[in-house]
Amino acid sequence: MTILTALAVLGCLTFLLAFILIVANKKLQVREDPRIDAVEQMLPHTNCGACGYPGCRPFAEALVSGKVLPGKCSVSPDEGRAAIAKFLGVGIGAEEKRVARLACGGGNNVALNRARYHGIQSCQAASLVSGGGKGCFWGCLGYGDCEAVCDFNAITMNTFGLPVVDIDKCTACGDCVEACPKDLFSLHPISHRLWVNCKNLEQGEAILEECQVACTACGKCAMDAPDNLISMINNLPVVDYSKNHQTQIPIQRCPTGAIVWLDDKLGIIKGAESKKIIRKGQRQEGIS
């Protein structure tokens, strides 16, 4: 008797439940392209926005709809991009790896601090207090906002208070570009190795009092560079990267080492005639 009641009750119940589920199954199916999930799984989930989309999911949607190629994701390793390309049956659309480059060589061993800053230890905050106190108005303040903002630990501050970009880790997400109050960072293809390492707009050697590696706008690099590769604009040399720029000639005669060659392994290479700065410690705090 008990078993029969149980069978009847549960039979009815399960039947009812099954019925509801069947109806639900029929009425409420959401049709979304399953490939979006799959592609999103293959993306790095950093939501860094380097691709120009607000996050990895929108980028995945764009990938699936064919609006964009996987190569646009600069964060994924090559295998990852290849996997997505294979999955979607499209080309990788390889773009050259880009990295953030700093346009300042004025660490505290060569550049003076005119005033001692007190307050929130961040470049953005310091730059709002009379520019932060650095002698050079354009130079790096060295409080490391870029280091803090980098999600990939690609930026570290060196002993002289200058950020150093680890090009292997850098994904060109652009966060440091936005963070720097002095606008010293910019994103460049990794092949751009001829590099103007200064943003000083003043002409003449007066600036050398503030910073020993500043560009004095002497124009030697522009003169030496073949094929009008470099032109002086607003007292600064500007490299025309649309021309062949794989040459170290322009850096050779630079007196201060403001134009440099960036080598993946050796780091910053300065020209033969540039002053050798051997000071290991901090430069004396200057007069104001």
Binding site: T2, I3, A6, L7, L10, G11, T14, A18, F19, N25
Partner: protein, 227 residues
């Protein structure tokens, strides 16, 4: 169109499969549950009865046999079977000679942490409460639950006076809870220090219940004594 027709052809089979799976599992489950129930039922009943007997024998010490009574709508006391449900259950305990030793009455009220259910023993002969046992409580452990553990407190219920007036309808004295150490009269309960609310709750439950039950029991005393 193509996807539509595909869906059309597959859906009935899926639905059928769903139905089959669910109802099948339902039936298996029903069997399992029913079998377990059948198998464990006698043992559970036994254990429950044992527990009840134990509780009753706490409040009616020395009880040997018992009978269950229920109160019907007209305030009559009737003997009931175990199976029947009644809002008020009384258990009459008898010694080996079949003499009525006392009654165990269930009562409940609101304590410190919610509902408090107790079983108390009532001796119609002495017109006194002979003990109580907590069936369900949410009182604070270590404090409120002293009502079950404190021997001083339980001492109150050796013979708590609930004697009736001559009219056999009202109580002579209402059970009251007094501050610890202030008990002077047999109808007073010595409260527990630090668990005032809980000890008061017991007093209130007993007072409420006895006001109704004591006259009732007295009325049906003869009925109860028949064994």
């Amino acid at each position: 169109m193509q996807t539509m027709s595909q869906a059309d052809t597959t859906e009935p089979t899926i639905s059928l499969k769903m139905l089959k799976a669910m109802v099948g599992i339902g039936i298996v489950c029903a069997c399992l549950i029913a079998l377990t129930f059948e198998y464990t039922l006698p043992r559970i009943e036994n254990l429950k009865a044992e527990a009840l007997n134990k509780a009753i024998s706490i409040v009616i010490p020395g009880m040997v046999t018992k009978k269950t009574f229920g109160v019907d709508r007209n305030n009559n006391l009737l003997e009931v079977n175990n199976k029947d449900k009644s809002p008020h259950l009384l258990y009459a305990g008898y010694d080996e000679n079949g003499k009525l030793m006392g009654l165990a009455v269930e009562a409940s009220g609101i304590g410190f942490g919610g509902v408090l259910r107790i079983l108390y023993g009532y001796d119609p002969e002495k017109q006194a409460i002979t003990g109580f046992h907590v069936l369900e409580s949410k009182e604070t452990p270590g404090l409120g639950d002293k009502i079950e553990k404190s021997s001083d407190f339980l001492e109150n219920f050796r013979a708590l006076d609930v004697s009736l007036n001559e009219d056999n309808v009202t109580l002579k004295h209402k059970i009251t809870v007094v501050k610890n150490g202030a008990k002077k009269n047999p109808w007073e309960i010595d409260g527990i220090t630090g668990a005032t609310i809980s000890s008061r709750a017991i007093g209130n439950i007993l007072a409420d219940s006895t006001r109704q039950m004591a006259p009732l029991i007295n009325r049906h005393k003869s009925n109860l004594e028949k064994n």
